[in-house]
C-alpha cells in the first residue's frame, strides 16, 4: 500500500506514544491523588499527536512541487498553501483553544452535564467535518487510488472524477460520519434538555420505532452502496440521515435517563474518533477511540444497572411520560411536616447523620450551604457522611463533583453499596433533592415502574429528613414516594438551599 511507505516509522511511533499517554491518563483516574498527574500525561499525549502532525503535514513539501509543468490547474492547487498552514491553522487553534479555556474556567459545576454534552457535540461535528474533508480530498489522506491509465507524474493530479476512494476506506468513512453526525445532533438535543432550553419530558412521535429503524437501515444500506458508487449524493444523504436519526433518538428520552444518554453519547464520540482513525490509518485516534468508546459503554452499563433497566428500554425512550398509579391517592395521604428548627434539633442530638444528595441539590446550588451545615454538626460531635446513588444527578459522578466543589473531603463520600448497610445504625438520614433513588417501593412494589432498582435504604434510619420543594411534585420516574408518609419521615418543604441555610442558622 502506497500510504504505508509514505509514513515514516518515527511518526507511527509518536502516535503510538500519544495513545499510551491517553491510556495512562485514564488509568490515573483510579484515585483522586493520581488523577491530576494522569491529566497532565493526557495533555502531553495530545501535544505529541498535534506536534507530530504539524511537523509531518504542515511543514512537509507541498505535493504540487512535483507537478508537471503542463498541468493547467497547477496554480489553483498550490495557491495559498502557506497561508493556510502558517496563519490559519494557528489561528483556528488559538480561537478554539481560547473559547475552550474561557468556558472551562467560567462554567459552574452544576452545569457540568450541559458542558459535557456540548463537548460531545463538538467531537461529533469535528468527526463529520474531517470525514467530509477526507471525502473531498482523498489523495491528501492516502486513501484513494487512481483509476484508468494516467500519464506519469499525474498520479497526484488526476481530476477528482477519476480518483477512486478505496472501498474499505469508504465503509470506514461512511461509518465515521454517520456516528459523528449522530453524536452531534444527539448531543445538541441532550444539551438543550439539560440546559433547560427544552423540556426534559420525553417527546413521543407516533411510529417512532418504525421510523428510527427504517432510517438506520437506510444509513447502513447507503454505506454498503457507497462502496460501489462514491457519488456525492450517497455521501451527503448518509450524513443528512445520520443528523436526523441522532435527533430522533434522543427526543423521546426523559430527564431521568440523561445519565445514560450522556454516557452513551460519550461512547459514540469515541467510536466516531475510532472510525476516523481507521479511515486515516492513525493509531493514536484508534487507541483513543477504543478507550473512549469502551469508557462510555461501561458508564452506560453502570447507569442502566443502577436503574435496573435494560439499555434497549432506555434507548426506546418514553420513561417518565406516564404518571405512576399512586398519584391521586397521594394528595390526601397524611404526612409530617417539620421546620428548620426541628431538623436542627434532631441532627444536633444525633450520633451519625447521612446526607443523601440528588439533582435537587444541584438545581438550588445548595452544596456550599450543606457543607456549612455538616461542619457545624461535626463541631457538635456528630459524624457526618454522604451517600451517593450512581444515578443521582444528571451524569455519572455529578454529585461527587458538586460536593468536592463545596470542599467536602472525598473520604466522607460513599457509594451506594459501601454505605447502604449503615442506615440501620444511623440516627438521621438527610435527603436533599433526591427522590426516586430513596423510594422503598423499588424494593417492595412489583407494579412500580422503578421496581428492582437498587435504592438507598434511608427508611431504615431512625429519622428521615426529606427536603423537598412541595408535596405536589413527583420524581422524574413519575412515581409517588412512599417514604413521605412514613412515621419516621419528616418533610422539610422549601427550596433546598433556603432550608439548609435556615438549619445552619438554627444550629448556630
Amino acid at each position: 500500500m502506497h500510504e504505508a511507505a509514505a509514513t515514516p516509522a518515527w511518526v507511527l511511533l509518536a502516535y503510538l506514544i500519544s495513545g499510551v499517554c491517553f491510556i495512562l491518563a485514564l488509568r490515573g483516574l483510579s484515585s483522586p491523588t493520581s488523577s491530576r498527574r494522569g491529566n497532565y500525561i493526557g495533555m502531553v499525549g495530545m501535544a505529541i499527536a498535534v506536534v507530530t502532525t504539524l511537523v509531518v503535514h504542515v511543514g512537509a513539501t507541498p505535493i504540487c512541487v512535483t507537478a508537471p509543468a503542463n498541468d493547467p490547474t497547477y496554480g489553483d492547487r498550490c495557491a495559498g498553501g502557506e497561508f493556510y498552514s502558517f496563519v490559519l491553522i494557528p489561528l483556528a487553534i488559538i480561537i478554539g483553544g481560547g473559547i475552550g479555556l474561557v468556558t472551562a474556567r467560567k462554567i459552574q459545576m452544576t452545569a457540568m452535564p450541559q458542558l459535557v454534552a456540548a463537548f460531545h457535540s463538538l467531537v461529533g461535528m469535528a468527526a463529520v467535518l474531517v470525514g467530509a474533508a477526507a471525502y473531498l480530498n482523498p489523495e491528501a489522506f492516502g486513501i484513494a487510488q487512481i483509476a484508468g491509465s494516467v500519464g506519469e507524474g499525474w498520479t497526484v493530479y488526476a481530476p477528482t472524477a477519476e480518483i477512486l476512494i478505496n472501498p474499505v476506506s469508504r465503509v470506514e468513512m461512511g461509518l465515521g460520519i454517520a456516528i459523528g453526525a449522530i453524536t452531534f445532533s444527539g448531543s445538541v438535543i441532550a444539551f438543550l434538555k439539560l440546559n433547560g432550553n427544552m423540556s426534559g419530558k420525553p417527546i413521543l412521535l407516533p411510529l417512532r420505532h418504525v421510523i428510527n429503524l427504517g432510517i438506520l437501515a437506510g444509513i447502513l444500506g447507503l454505506i454498503a452502496y457507497f462502496t460501489t458508487d462514491q457519488s456525492p449524493w450517497v455521501f451527503f444523504t448518509v450524513m443528512g440521515l445520520s443528523f436526523v436519526i441522532g435527533f430522533l433518538l434522543i427526543i423521546p428520552i426523559g430527564g431521568a435517563d440523561m445519565p445514560v444518554v450522556i454516557s452513551m453519547l460519550n461512547s459514540y464520540s469515541g467510536w466516531a474518533a475510532a472510525a476516523m482513525g481507521f479511515t486515516l490509518h492513525n493509531s493514536a485516534m484508534i487507541i483513543t477511540g477504543a478507550l473512549v468508546g469502551s469508557s462510555g459503554a461501561i458508564l452506560s452499563y453502570i447507569m442502566c444497572r443502577a436503574m435496573n433497566r435494560s439499555f434497549i428500554s432506555v434507548i426506546a425512550g418514553g420513561f417518565g411520560a406516564v404518571s405512576g398509579t399512586g398519584d391521586e391517592a397521594a394528595i390526601d395521604r397524611p404526612y409530617k411536616r417539620g421546620s428548620a428548627e426541628d431538623a436542627a434539633f434532631l441532627m444536633a442530638q444525633a450520633d451519625q447523620v447521612i446526607i443523601v444528595p440528588g439533582y435537587g441539590m444541584a438545581v438550588s446550588q445548595a452544596q456550599h450551604a450543606l457543607r456549612e451545615m455538616a461542619d457545624q454538626l461535626k463541631a457538635k460531635g456528630v459524624r457526618v457522611k454522604y451517600a451517593i446513588h450512581p444515578v443521582a444527578g444528571r451524569m455519572p459522578g455529578h454529585m461527587n463533583v458538586l460536593l468536592a466543589e463545596a470542599n467536602v473531603p472525598y473520604d466522607e463520600v460513599f457509594e451506594l453499596e459501601d454505605i447502604n448497610s449503615e442506615f440501620a445504625q444511623t440516627d438521621v438520614a438527610f435527603v436533599i433533592g433526591a427522590n426516586d433513588v430513596t423510594n422503598p417501593a423499588a424494593k417492595t412494589d412489583k407494579s412500580s415502574p422503578i421496581y428492582g432498582m437498587p435504592v438507598l435504604d434511608v427508611e431504615k434510619a431512625r429519622t428521615v429528613l426529606f427536603v423537598k420543594r412541595s408535596m405536589g411534585g413527583v420524581g422524574y420516574a413519575g412515581v409517588d414516594n412512599d417514604l413521605f408518609y412514613r412515621d419516621n419521615t419528616m418533610m422539610l418543604l422549601a427550596d433546598a438551599k433556603k432550608m439548609v441555610e435556615e438549619i445552619v442558622k438554627a444550629l448556630g
Partner: protein, 96 residues
C-alpha cells in the same frame, strides 16, 4: 498499515479500555467523561491533515473548522478536568 494491523490495535485497545475504565473510581466519573472528551479530540490530527493538504479548497476550510472545534474540546476538556480534579481533597487536618 494494513487493515488487519489497524484492526488488531483497535481490538486490543478496546480490551485495555475495558479494564482501565472499570478501575476508575465512581467518584471520578464526571472527570472521566470530561477527559475522554478532551482525548477523543485527537481527531484534530485528521483535521490538521485536511487543512494542511494541497488540493480541494473546501476540504481545507472544513479541516480548519474542525481544527477550531477540536481545539475548543482539547483545551476546554483538559482545563475543566484539571479544575475538577483540583477540588477533590482529603479530610483536612485540624490545624488547617
Amino acid at each position: 498499515m494494513d487493515f488487519i494491523s489497524i484492526l488488531s490495535i483497535f481490538v486490543l485497545a478496546c480490551f485495555v479500555g475495558y479494564y482501565v475504565v472499570w478501575s476508575v473510581t465512581p467518584a471520578l466519573h464526571t472527570p472521566l467523561m470530561s477527559v475522554t472528551n478532551a482525548i477523543s479530540s485527537v481527531i484534530v490530527v485528521g483535521a490538521l491533515i485536511a487543512s494542511a493538504a494541497a488540493g480541494s479548497a473546501s476540504s481545507k476550510w472544513l479541516g480548519l473548522l474542525a481544527v477550531a472545534l477540536a481545539s475548543v474540546n482539547i483545551f476546554g476538556g483538559f482545563a475543566v478536568t484539571a479544575r475538577m480534579l483540583a477540588m477533590y481533597k482529603k479530610r483536612e487536618r485540624k490545624d488547617a
